[in-house]
């Protein structure tokens, strides 16, 4: 037995139910609207619903792509694995490294926003009033999550399920009561006609809207621990995708057309629409859902008390998913020789990937320092104002989050297209719709049109991000370049191909994946497809 095989820990137990799979994804992606809504309203103003609609269409394409890939290849590596298998090692590394950026940002951004939601009930935590206290509490949360993950405490699936159910119930109530009692279509139309943003602001708003839909990696992570994922994942994923999409569209339309329960006025006493409280107040941007819930007639009195707590808990769960998600992705990348084996090392006492967890939590802390610096030091604020359009902490984190997501999702679409062409034999119980049948290297394949549409959409969001985010434009590509340099050093040290891929037996790997996931019928179908393909090749004239 090789030393690598010896170092492998026990396999993940497949015990997640369909509801568990849904709530796993929901607690990750569902929290995003709590952060994204205020940011998009701040920049896209009267076109916020259009920004969410555009990002939402792209998100549906991404969600369908992940659903197909996760049900066909139910492994925890997620986007990095799909891209590596479809396009090769170096592209797999870039996709995985971009996902790792997102996970580390996830830790800081959601801990930050969790404190913002808490500040709705505890004004001492408002960032603009007590920046040091805000910073210390966010730092404390990140360190506490790191410690909890090192000693092996994770929130249970049951707790995730409970919080998700409560959140779905609350959000449905907020939206239904809001649309029934506080929604004025005339206000929505007025906001869209008289407060349409400039093209630059619309691009910025759209790139921030994708923040509300990040976290689809959780679909593939849930697939690894779900029994018979090919059957369960499509059902729960489609439900998850539609729920998140409708919540995002509904919140943006409601926010623009909301007639506030309590009148809102500016400093001069002029009445304001609800969405106008976001553009110049970064404190409000971080807790938009709680502010909106409080403006719903009758229910708002109760919602104002518990929605901030619910939001803070959901965001903290999402932050935690960043801590263990990054170590899990790093483990998978290390297993594929894309990262050094140190990221596979498991602590003897706690049986957790402690080094990996501490490493990525440290990066999250560095990101927190960059995000908090302008509020903590006026000299840094003037520096940011001069060179980076004066971005605030939340904006800085959202920039990088959008960059990482757009980069990794772009590669996932390319990976999906490549896998459809290079691996037509794997049975796909779920296929994204709109496919063009064709022949490729002697095999019948189906070319996914939706993947092309999705790629164009997400790539345009990547361009928007690079065009409109001064900090994301510098830090995002720098992160990728640093990663590629480390990758080359590592691969050279291990005498592995730098640009090419390591030899792997994908057929044997696929049989093992399907066997371990309990998809025995699909495994038999795959073996039969392989034999038929080999027979066809053998009889083909040279």
């Amino acid at each position: 037995m090789s030393s690598k095989a010896k170092s492998r820990g026990p396999d993940l137990r497949r015990s997640v139910t369909p509801w568990g799979s849904f709530s796993w994804g929901y607690s990750d992606v569902g929290a995003d609207i709590f952060v994204g809504l205020g940011l998009v309203l701040a920049w896209a103003a009267g076109a916020s619903n259009v920004a969410f609609l555009f990002a939402g269409v792209v998100y549906v394409c991404i969600g369908l792509a992940y659903t197909e890939l996760a049900s066909t290849y139910p492994v925890a590596g997620g986007g990095q694995y799909f891209v590596m298998r479809g396009l090769g090692d170096i592209f797999g590394f870039i996709a995985g490294w971009a996902v790792l950026l997102d996970f580390t940002i996830d830790v800081t951004l959601f801990a930050w926003s969790s404190v913002d939601y808490t500040s709705q009930l505890m004004p001492a935590l408002v960032n603009s009033i007590h920046p040091w206290l805000h910073f210390i509490v966010v730092l404390g949360l990140v360190l506490a999550l790191c410690l909890l993950n090192v000693i092996g405490v994770r929130e249970s699936t049951a707790f995730n399920g409970f919080v998700s159910a409560l959140d779905v119930l609350s959000e449905t109530l907020i939206l239904c009561l809001g649309f029934l009692f506080a929604f004025r279509p005339a206000l929505l139309v007025h906001a869209m006609q008289f407060n349409w943003p400039s093209p630059y602001q619309l691009m910025l708003g759209t790139s921030l809207a994708i923040v509300s839909f990040v976290g689809l990696e959780s679909i593939s992570q849930a697939a690894q621990e779900t029994q018979r994922p090919a059957s369960v994942i499509p059902r729960t994923s489609v439900s998850l995708i539609l729920t998140i999409l409708i919540f995002a569209l509904a919140y943006s339309n409601l926010a623009l057309g909301l007639h506030p329960w309590h009148p809102i006025a500016d400093a001069a006493g002029h009445p304001m629409q609800f969405w106008q409280i976001f553009p110049h107040d970064s404190d409000n941007q971080g807790k938009a859902v709680a502010l909106l819930a409080a403006q719903v007639p009758y229910y708002g009195a109760l919602a104002a008390l518990y929605v901030p707590v619910l939001g803070a808990v959901l965001l903290l769960i999402s932050s935690n998913s960043g801590v263990f998600g990054s170590s899990r992705i790093a483990y998978a990348m290390s297993n594929s020789n894309l990262l050094p084996s140190i990221f596979q090392r498991v602590n003897r006492k706690f049986r957790t990937p402690a080094i990996s967890i501490v490493f990525f939590s440290t990066i999250a802390v560095v990101e927190l320092v960059f995000a908090a610096a302008p509020a903590l030091y006026p000299s840094v604020a003037s520096l940011y104002a001069r060179f980076f359009h004066g971005e605030n902490g939340l904006g800085f984190l959202a920039d990088l989050y959008a960059f990482g997501a757009a980069t990794s999702y772009s590669f996932v679409f390319l990976g999906l297209i490549a896998l459809r062409l290079r691996d037509p034999l794997s049975p796909r119980k779920f296929k994204i719709p709109l496919n063009v049948p064709m022949r490729w290297r002697g095999e019948r394949v189906e070319f996914p049109v939706i993947a092309v549409i999705g790629f164009i959409g997400i790539f345009s969001i990547l361009i928007f991000t690079l065009r409109t985010h001064p900090l994301g434009r510098i830090f995002g590509p720098s992160w990728l370049l640093l990663g590629i340099a480390l990758y080359f050093v590592y691969r050279r040290h291990r005498r592995l191909p730098l640009f090419g891929s390591q030899q792997r037996d994908w057929r044997a790997a696929q049989v093992e994946i399907l066997r371990s996931s309990g998809e025995l019928e699909l495994m038999d179908e795959y073996v039969a497809n392989v034999k038929a393909s080999d027979a066809r090749r053998a009889t083909r004239p040279v």
Partner: protein, 61 residues
Amino acid sequence: MLIVRGVLALAMVLCGMVVMARMLAMLPAGLAVLPGVVLAAAMIALGAHRLFLIARAWRST
């Protein structure tokens, strides 16, 4: 649990119908009603789809 999910799905459909009716009343405003109409259609579709799934699960239990 099925009953709670059924009530939520029904609420989604009703809410979608209300939004649709109110947005269609603003039709002269032109393209500005489009996001609202898309949202209403999506709410009705998702709610109806869930009701269909719940009815199927109800019959099988």
